[in-house]
Amino acid sequence: MVKTKSIHPYASGKIVVPGEKLCVVEEFMASEGTYEVNGEVRALRVGVVLYDYFSRKVRVLYPGKRAFTPKQGNIIKGKIVSVGDDTAFVKIMEIEGVKPLSGFFTGLIHVSQISTNYIKNVEEAFKLGDIIRARVLTSWPPYQLSTKYPGTGVVLAFCSNCRSPLWLKNGLLICPECNSREKRRISPKYILKL
């Protein structure tokens, strides 16, 4: 067995490949990175094994590549690609806390999920090209998103007249080029602040 420096203080240092038997269910229960078949626990990805003697669970940890898709409760970053009467479509580019996605997923936001305040139509809150931070409500495509949660909303908006990035000043978005003022569902994490 190949030994390496462990990535977790309690990791055994044993590297396993998918399909390798780790233990029987009576010893440790299957958990992250493992699965159970015929009373045995096996690895489902490459990684280092961690036998957790406290919770009696076995895990396979890997710091590198993993197959990620957005899951309920995740915070995502994306771009508004189309705005309808009651929904906006979002191109999900990144799941926060995870390396950027190699591809993209499509999400949608319904007017009722934009803000805790009343919003008549999506145009009031998002416009084409805006970069938003949103929370995921469903675990499969098409992902339902929400910007009702703290910290979510538009993080970068562009002027609808001249497309230059808008600056946030006293709760208002101002265009430095054409001086127009715009309304959005602004996130407290808006990046251009004056």
């Binding site: 190949v2 390496t4 420096k5 990535i7 590297i15 490949v17 998918p18 399909g19 390798e20 038997k21 699965y35 078949v37 096996r42 489902l44 990805r45 490459v46 990684g47 280092v48 890997y62 710091p63 590198g64 590549k65 993993r66 197959a67 898709t69 190699s102 591809g103 993209f104 997923f105 499509t106 499969w140 495509p141």
Partner: protein, 248 residues
């Protein structure tokens, strides 16, 4: 076939055309993470056969109607490069390539935990760079390594090898010349941890006894390939953890 123009595939010492014994594999080289843009990739070289596999996904399905509501779809493309054969091969997918894509996909579907990623697709591309017999087997070996490299949950790796019958002798891992003149050619793939056959095809004629002997011979070869696959993955893991320790 007259005896004069027949190629001697096995000489009186039992040596094959490339000097191997009947139960020897060709030299194998495996590498993973060879492509930057793919989520997972692998390169497998088995004698003169050179295959590269790339995995993308799980990602959004286009066109939408191909998605399954309860699991991920797997799309597989086995393709031979125009320069992979001695005579230029048209790059358009041939009847043979379409069939191989299907059987390879079905073999891989049996090990991937597709139900973890509903309404998405996992794309697998297998490109044969140089064909010298056993390309579907090398392709499958590479594809399973690429899946493991991408971090896609799989039940087991898949290792594959072709068994042939030449001059009445069962031989392991046949090459192009042997394939052309053999009496039977049987590609097989297994999930080695479960001793489960996931692909089995047969070209030519084998008696029931020969078939079971051929399967046993194939298993031996598959186990050797499986060991190499494990070694490749573990080596890569060691390197990647060492790198992450340097960075953090």
């Amino acid at each position: 076939m007259s005896s004069e123009d027949k190629i001697v595939l096995i000489d009186e010492k039992g040596r094959r055309i490339d000097g191997r014994g009947p139960e020897d594999l060709r030299p194998i080289r495996m590498e993973i993470d060879v492509l930057k843009n793919a989520d997972g990739s692998a390169y497998v070289e088995q004698g003169g056969t050179k295959v590269i596999a790339a995995v993308y996904g799980p990602r959004e399905v286009h066109p939408r109607h191909l998605a399954f509501p309860d699991r991920a779809a797997i799309r597989c493309r086995y393709h031979m490069a125009p320069f992979s054969t001695s005579e230029r091969k048209s790059p358009a997918p041939s009847r043979r390539e379409i069939e191989l894509s299907k059987v390879i996909r079905e073999a891989l579907e049996s090990v991937v935990f597709t139900q973890l990623y509903p309404r998405t697709v996992i794309d697998i591309f297998i490109e044969v760079l140089q064909a010298d017999g056993g390309t579907r087997c090398a392709g499958l070996t590479a594809a399973s390594l690429a899946l493991a490299d991408a971090g896609i949950p799989i039940r087991d790796l898949i290792a594959a090898v072709a068994v042939g019958k030449i001059d009445g002798v069962l031989v392991l891992d046949i090459n192009e010349t042997e394939d052309e003149h053999c009496e039977a050619d049987m590609p097989m793939a297994m999930a080695p941890s479960f001793n489960e056959i996931v692909l089995l095809q047969l070209n030519g004629v084998l008696s029931p006894e020969e078939t079971s002997k051929a399967i046993e011979l194939g298993k031996k070869g598959i186990m050797k390939i499986y060991e190499l696959q494990k070694e490749t993955l573990k080596k890569k893991y060691e390197l990647s953890t060492r790198r992450s320790q340097v960075v953090t």
